[in-house]
Symmetry: C2
Subunit: 189 residues, 2 copies
DNA sequence: GCCACCAAGCTAATGCTATTAGCCGCACCT
DNA sequence: AGGTGCGGCTAATAGCATTAGCTTGGTGGC
C-alpha cells in the first residue's frame, strides 16, 4: 500500500479546511482521517490527539490572522489604519468561519508559541490605534473595546444573529466610523 | 425504588447549573443524569436528547437575560438606561458563564418560542438606545454595534482574552461611555 | 546493490458518549 | 381494589477518541 505522505502541517491544514466547511463541531478525527484517506489512528503519528490538533490549528489560524492584520496596518495610520485593519479582521472571519474562533481561545499557560502568535494579533489591533495618541489605561480600554466589538460583530454575523434587514458590511463600516470618532475624543470618555 | 420526581423544567435547570460550573463542553447527558441521581436514558422521558436539551436551555437562558435587561431599562433613558442595561448584560454573563453563550445562538428556523425570547432580549438592547433619537438604518447599525461590543466583551473576558493588567469592569465602563458619546453623534458617523 | 532500521501506516481492543427498544412497578383515578 | 399511564430501569447499538502492538515501505550506510 502506498504511503499517504502526511506531515503535521498537512494534517493541521486539512483540519482547518474541514472546520471552515462544516464548523468546529464537525472537526472530528474520524472525518479528518477519511478526508486524508487514512485510518483514524494513523493521525496520532502526526498530532497528539484531538486537543493537540485544535491547539496546532489555533496557532496556525492565529498566525495567519496576525499576518493579515499586520499587513493591513503597515504604512497606514488613523482612520485609514483602523479601517484597513477592521476590514482584514472581518474578511478573515468570513473566509474562515471554522478557523476564526480558534484565534480567540486563550493560549494555555506556558504555551509560548501560542502566546506569541496571540500577542502578534493583539499588537496589530493595538497598532491601528497608535495614531489616536492614547496612552496607559486609555490605550488598554480602547484596544479592549475595539477587540470586543470586532469579535462580537463577526461572531454574531457568522451565527446569523443579525436579521436580514440590512447588509452587515454597512453596519460594520458604520461601527468602525463610530470608533474613529470615539477614539478621537477618548480622553473625555 | 423511589421516583426521582423529575420534570423537563428541573432537567433544564440542573443542566444550566452544570454548564455554569464546568462550561458548555462539560454538559453531557451522562454527567447530568449522575447529578440528578438517575440513569442516563431516563432523561429521555423529559427531553428529546442532547440537542433538545440545549435548545430548551437556550430558551430558558435567553428568557432570563431578556427579563433582566428589560428590568434594567424600565424607567430609565439615555446614558442611565444604557449603563444599566450594559451592567445587567455583563452581570448575567459573569454569573452564568455556561448559560450566556446559549443566549446568543440563533434560533432554528420556525422555532417560534425561541425566536420570541431572542426578540425580547434584542428589543431590550434596542430600547436602551431609544433616548438617542436614532431611526431607520441608524438605529439598526447602532444596535448591532452595541450588541457586538457587549457580546465580544463578555466572551473575551470569560475566555481570559484580556490580560491581567487592568480590571475588566473599568474598561467596560469606559466602553459604554464611548458608546454614549458615539450614539449622541451617530448621524454624523 | 543489499541490509538494517525507523517511522508511517495498519488492525484490534477499550472506554466513553448518545440514542433506541423494551421491561417493570409506583401512584393516581375511578 | 383495580387498572392504567408514566417515570424509572437494563440491555443493546453505533460513533467517537485513545492506546497497544504489528507490518511494511522507504532510506541511509556499507
Amino acid at each position: 500500500m502506498p504511503r499517504a505522505g502526511l506531515t503535521p502541517a498537512i494534517v493541521v491544514e486539512r483540519g482547518l479546511d474541514l472546520a471552515d466547511e462544516g464548523g468546529l463541531e464537525r472537526l472530528t478525527l474520524a472525518a479528518l482521517a477519511a478526508r486524508l484517506g487514512v485510518a483514524l489512528p494513523s493521525l496520532y503519528k502526526h498530532v497528539g490527539g484531538l486537543d493537540d490538533l485544535r491547539r496546532r490549528m489555533a496557532v496556525a489560524a492565529t498566525a495567519e490572522l496576525a499576518r493579515r492584520l499586520g499587513e493591513a496596518v503597515a504604512g497606514r495610520s488613523g482612520l485609514d489604519a483602523l479601517t484597513a485593519m477592521a476590514e482584514a479582521y472581518r474578511r478573515y472571519a468570513v473566509e474562515h468561519p471554522g478557523g476564526y474562533p480558534l484565534t480567540q481561545v486563550a493560549p494555555a499557560a506556558g504555551d509560548a508559541e501560542h502566546e506569541a502568535e496571540a500577542e502578534r494579533a493583539a499588537s496589530a489591533v493595538f497598532a491601528a490605534l497608535r495614531g489616536y495618541g492614547l496612552e496607559g489605561d486609555d490605550a488598554i480600554d480602547a484596544t479592549r473595546a475595539l477587540r470586543a466589538a470586532l469579535h462580537g460583530f463577526v461572531l454574531l454575523e457568522a451565527g446569523g444573529g443579525f436579521g436580514l434587514s440590512r447588509p452587515p458590511g454597512a453596519s460594520f463600516e458604520r461601527m468602525i466610523a463610530g470608533f474613529d470618532a470615539a477614539f478621537a475624543a477618548w480622553r473625555a470618555g
